[in-house]
Symmetry: C2
Subunit: 352 residues, 2 copies
Amino acid sequence: MSWEDNVKRVVPYVPGEQPKSKVIKLNTNENPYPPSPKVREVLSNYDIDELRLYPDVNAGELGMALAKYYGLNSNQVFVGVGSDDVLAIAFMTFFNSDKEILFPDITYSFYDVWADLYKIPYRMVELNDDFRINIEDYLVPNGGIVIPNPNAPTGVEKDVRELEKIVAKNPDSVVIIDEAYVDFGATSMLPLINKYDNLLIVQTYSKSRSMAGARIGMAFGNEKLIKYMNDVKFSINSYTMNRLTVAAGTAALEDEEYFKETCDKVIATRERTKVRLRELGFDMPDSKSNFVFATHESIPASDIFNAAKSAGIYLRWWNKDRISNRLRISIGTDEEMDALFAFLKEYIEARG
Amino acid sequence: MSWEDNVKRVVPYVPGEQPKSKVIKLNTNENPYPPSPKVREVLSNYDIDELRLYPDVNAGELGMALAKYYGLNSNQVFVGVGSDDVLAIAFMTFFNSDKEILFPDITYSFYDVWADLYKIPYRMVELNDDFRINIEDYLVPNGGIVIPNPNAPTGVEKDVRELEKIVAKNPDSVVIIDEAYVDFGATSMLPLINKYDNLLIVQTYSKSRSMAGARIGMAFGNEKLIKYMNDVKFSINSYTMNRLTVAAGTAALEDEEYFKETCDKVIATRERTKVRLRELGFDMPDSKSNFVFATHESIPASDIFNAAKSAGIYLRWWNKDRISNRLRISIGTDEEMDALFAFLKEYIEARG
């Protein structure tokens, strides 16, 4: 007998590498452009005396700014330490049924980690061979549903009118739509939160707002959903959103022009990337996110992954069933993508 | 049947009020002095381009700076979003026995909230009438032990040689010593983590380092304890410590002189406060923290609490068994305390 007998043993999520040296980093879907200059401004002028005080429990001005930005009431907004925090709390709050929760078999690999951690029964629903969701699969008894749209790591967007059927036909389950990548040209289901009280939309500053390092995620839903999540949050840690992040996140929202401009740049580079990769012998589903999910006609993904890494270009590859011959390639700047294309061209030619 | 049937229902922790208007705030044990000027410096010069990247999963430079500061290896340090985050993860990680965990009946009121949330059986062990811990009470079969030293809201310090007995005699339980207030003149048990593999020390930037608004807490223990906590953390949210906070927290550690100076000022004001409050008819146990836990010889605590609030001075009062006639008064600046004494003098005289 030892204290180690009572330790919670888990298999944690493994995030993409954060290399210390200078590399071309296309492995964790970060935005290649810096945050809005308004963020620099607010940090330079920040009154550090405020740091001695606890922050507002509801992320104060950030929660209100988000509500205003999205045309919601502030009691329809939940703010957390990145969308991982928001999703983990949503899983804990809403998924307490004996029935299985449902999510795609190829998707964000944190969902099953949270389900295991919180002892939530779950079933991974197979996507079809084009990585598409079959709506009918989700119209069965369940304890909750999680669907990322666009999905990751595939980048595939499902039509929101189709997804709405899942929400409408499951009034007894909370349906979470994880819209981490929605700002890169996909359609948000946010307007539907006033129609369905079981719909929770999750978004993040980490991708489209270039602030992965600030850790801001948010959920939008009817006020009952948000209240239940806050109750659980206040049972774990009352004050999660630090004052610096609240100030920086609020400032970023004020700069809509910059936001649109950087999203448009990422989208333009993504479209160019699709064309160029196809020329190089890659195939991929049509992505609406800031990454593509590519497979080469002749060279195994793992070979390309390793060779690229040796050349200082980090991509993401999973040694997992159904996707082991795919690479997830984040969209960088045009210059970074050109460097990738040049490497690929040379590497593919050398392999003959 | 509705989705609400499967919602996790909890009774959340209720933090002290954060008033929006200008008041004398002696209700949440914040430090009255601003953080080190080094924090301003690092934020003014912060390269916001970095914010587009995910932070280091182990709080990188902050974890290393803490290890260096306390003379530890970095694998003996865990960093979280305030000590509430650290404690919540420790509860989840280590308290999975069928036996009850033990903590004092009068203590930080988050412990039972976490135990309820994670379905951990617990027993609150009665302090004696002087709010002192009886060591023998903790030498019984248990699933874990949590002891704040100094305790809150009493401010009472237990001799670390006494507490060491609890750690030594419970090798099969993790013993958490919550040292949130240790820097105000109490003795840390940190040196003992190399002697006992079941000892976890938890500290925070929120009190002595004037950074409650930055949300930094830390745990120190042998590398096995820290690894288990990280495994659980990585199953919830890989990236909890944002880059701004990491930079600010690291900078604060570099300014030892400022840290000592502000702690000494708080201690001096606390000692003056004890004398002055006793002159005004209050009694309190000897506090080694940045607050005192006072009861008046004739006027009920709730009356003083309400009258002070009306006068713009926020104190903390709990309508709870054994402590309902006590006020927890945080130590502010000398000027703030003088305003409190002036109010109390007038109020007590008026009550005749």
